[in-house]
Symmetry: C2
Subunit: 390 residues, 2 copies
């Protein structure tokens, strides 16, 4: 039974049927396209596997909600033992604070009076940790934490090779941590890093992981030498998820993409095709030339994120048409080449399900997700964190 | 005076000020980031110029609303003489039908019972034309048009080199048009094409334009020979906008991007930097290494659309930092390299305005737009057509 009441994604015939009987099952053909489908069996298996791994290795699991953007799935992660949830933006923290979360990490150097005030509003309902790499953000957060009289936990962000945010191991990192340790009601808890640069399917993957472990070791030694806390050492991405126990000192992991997986995770060896729980349901709207198919979803549905790391220039895997190449997109048009597809030609009106290159940004394009088992649509839910840019 | 009441994009201090006085002017520093800014002077100049051009050349101007996705700006286009508006999706038609539009073109081969029913609902309030390239869609639309007793105007879509939707010039196109001309209450009005493949800044641009004119001529000759109507011949993109008079037989143009322009339009020679009306206001949240700046917007704010045609791998032009290279994005992080920037280093908290690569998809990531003149925020409006995938 669908719980969405979303007229724009279910044709009126279905709604009418439901309206009169209230019991008819919704199936995939009832969903209009393009639409985000989540295979619930696969998603639950992905959640279970990560939870078991974290428990077996004594790691706290704090999933990043950037992928599902939903309090419903956040709740499923918490039911399976996650100790809290991770977000990037204050707007996402506000969304997740509306769910059953006991504890939030904002893995982002939050900046600005408006955002600090909003974050401290959240921190009055749910304990909040912020990860940051600069004293300016810490000073602003301290001011607002004092104003409302709430303690705010802080992790300093180290750059262990990602070259995004974070200070490199060394004096500047220790100096920042030392300063923050003396800025009550901020409470320094430890270190955060993001190992997004590590691709264990690449030739240099193992070397990069070993270097990261060495660098983290030196950071933790510096913290201990300076009397700084190392109670929380938070790292972990989906590609490194099941290698987390190989990073000494790590206490917490923050995978996000593992909940659904995508073509990029398969290309990086982080999962198989059968672990990909998310697909976009599309319809063939034009077959203008031999072997050319146009579907009703393009960059507004999938985003134009390329296949990483440096894969073929395609935009997803077409489940129903082996060998098909989803090679080009405009905003509302997806162009699929069937010249290497063995099978009957596609027909107008045919439904095609496509596993996206990068599921996090694809989910962000959709207002609702439809959870399926086989052909049955078991439930639908809003993507509440969608588009929370601030 | 801001008319948005959007708490998430204006800090509470501003809202409080407005609440007590109701008269204080909002300025750019009052807007939280990331946020979509529209320079109203530039936008109005873009609208005026296209309207004057269309009038001078006796062309109907039917702007594609995919770029602004707003009934407010659609209204401004209509006030300046646009004969109607263009949309791609039924959901966009529903949005625009809520504005002052006299007439809508759905430039997309709409497919499916649910969408046909919704489109005919729209067609009962606003005259609708649909462009399509297949008999299957025409048959479905005919059935629904009969059901509600409304005439639906049809353009057949020709492929004049874009290789997306549309049938090539020749027998199949004539056969489709002939069939539709006998399918009341569908009413064939003429031909549509999209010249999105033409880049007049490229070496082969003029050749491609000449070929398109020749192909269109042969299509129109075929229509006339077969007694098919050519009252509407709809083409035109932003890059070809001011060359439309060079395409004999054209009666209508459908530019979209011209309202705001972007880095790609500049790269294609379709406009100058001073014609770019849209920018994303961002904040520097981290300066982790020398010459490295991280801003609070990445692919969730800009999308990862590359600079076309085949430009440098950058994601926008940083207005405040000449020479800066916006070279990498993750979802919430934008990475800017300052090694070729002459000037003081960026500081945490600094605001940077960035002209996006592809403004249509960037606008789609934002719930609201803020219209500015100089430093003043004159008005804000919802991006109502945002995310209307269906």
């Amino acid at each position: 039974m669908v719980d969405c009441g979303c007229e724009s994604s279910l044709p009126r015939s279905t709604l009418a049927r439901q309206g009169t009987s209230g019991t008819l099952k919704t199936t995939i053909p009832d969903i209009d396209t393009p639409a985000l489908l989540i295979d619930l069996d696969r998603m639950e298996a992905n959640l279970d596997r990560a939870a078991s791994y974290a428990e077996a290795h004594g790691l706290s699991l704090r999933p990043h909600t950037k992928t599902h953007k939903s309090t419903l799935i956040g709740g499923m992660q918490l039911e399976r033992g996650a100790t809290g949830l991770t977000v990037a933006k204050v707007g996402e923290a506000e969304v997740m604070a509306g769910g059953p979360v006991p504890d939030l990490l904002v893995a982002y150097p939050v900046w600005g009076e408006g955002k600090w005030a909003r974050l401290l509003d959240v921190a009055q309902t749910v304990p909040v940790t912020v990860a940051l790499d600069n004293l300016e953000a810490a000073t602003g957060l301290q001011r607002h934490a004092r104003r409302v009289g709430v303690a705010l936990r802080i992790l300093v962000e180290a750059d262990l090779g990602m070259r995004r945010c974070g200070l490199p191991p060394g004096e500047s990192l220790i100096a920042l941590a030392t300063a923050i340790a003396r800025m009550p009601p901020l409470r320094l808890e430890g270190v955060m890093f993001y190992p997004g640069h590590i691709n264990l399917a690449a030739p240099d993957g193992e070397v990069a992981l070993a270097k990261l472990a060495t660098d983290l070791d030196s950071v933790l030694a510096g913290f201990k030498k300076n009397g700084l806390p190392t109670g929380v050492v938070s790292g972990g991405s989906t590609p490194t998820l099941y290698h987390s126990h190989r990073i000494p000192g790590l206490t917490e992991i923050r995978p996000g993409t593992y909940v659904f997986n995508d073509c990029t995770q398969v290309a990086m060896g982080a999962c198989g095709w059968d672990d990909c729980a998310a697909s976009i349901l599309t319809t063939v709207v034009s077959t203008p030339r031999p072997n050319a198919v146009v579907i009703d979803g393009g960059s507004k549905t999938f985003t134009s994120d390329p296949l990483r790391p440096r894969g073929e220039a395609t935009f997803g895997r077409v489940l129903e048409l082996p060998g098909a190449r989803f090679h080009k997109m405009n905003e509302e048009h997806g162009m699929i080449d069937l010249s290497k597809h063995d099978g009957p030609p596609a027909r107008i009106g045919q439904r095609l399900r496509i596993v996206p290159n990068h599921v996090c940004v694809t989910v962000n394009m959709h207002e609702r997700a439809h959870g399926i088992r086989g052909e049955s649509v078991e439930r639908s839910w809003p993507v509440e964190g969608r588009g929370k840019l601030q």
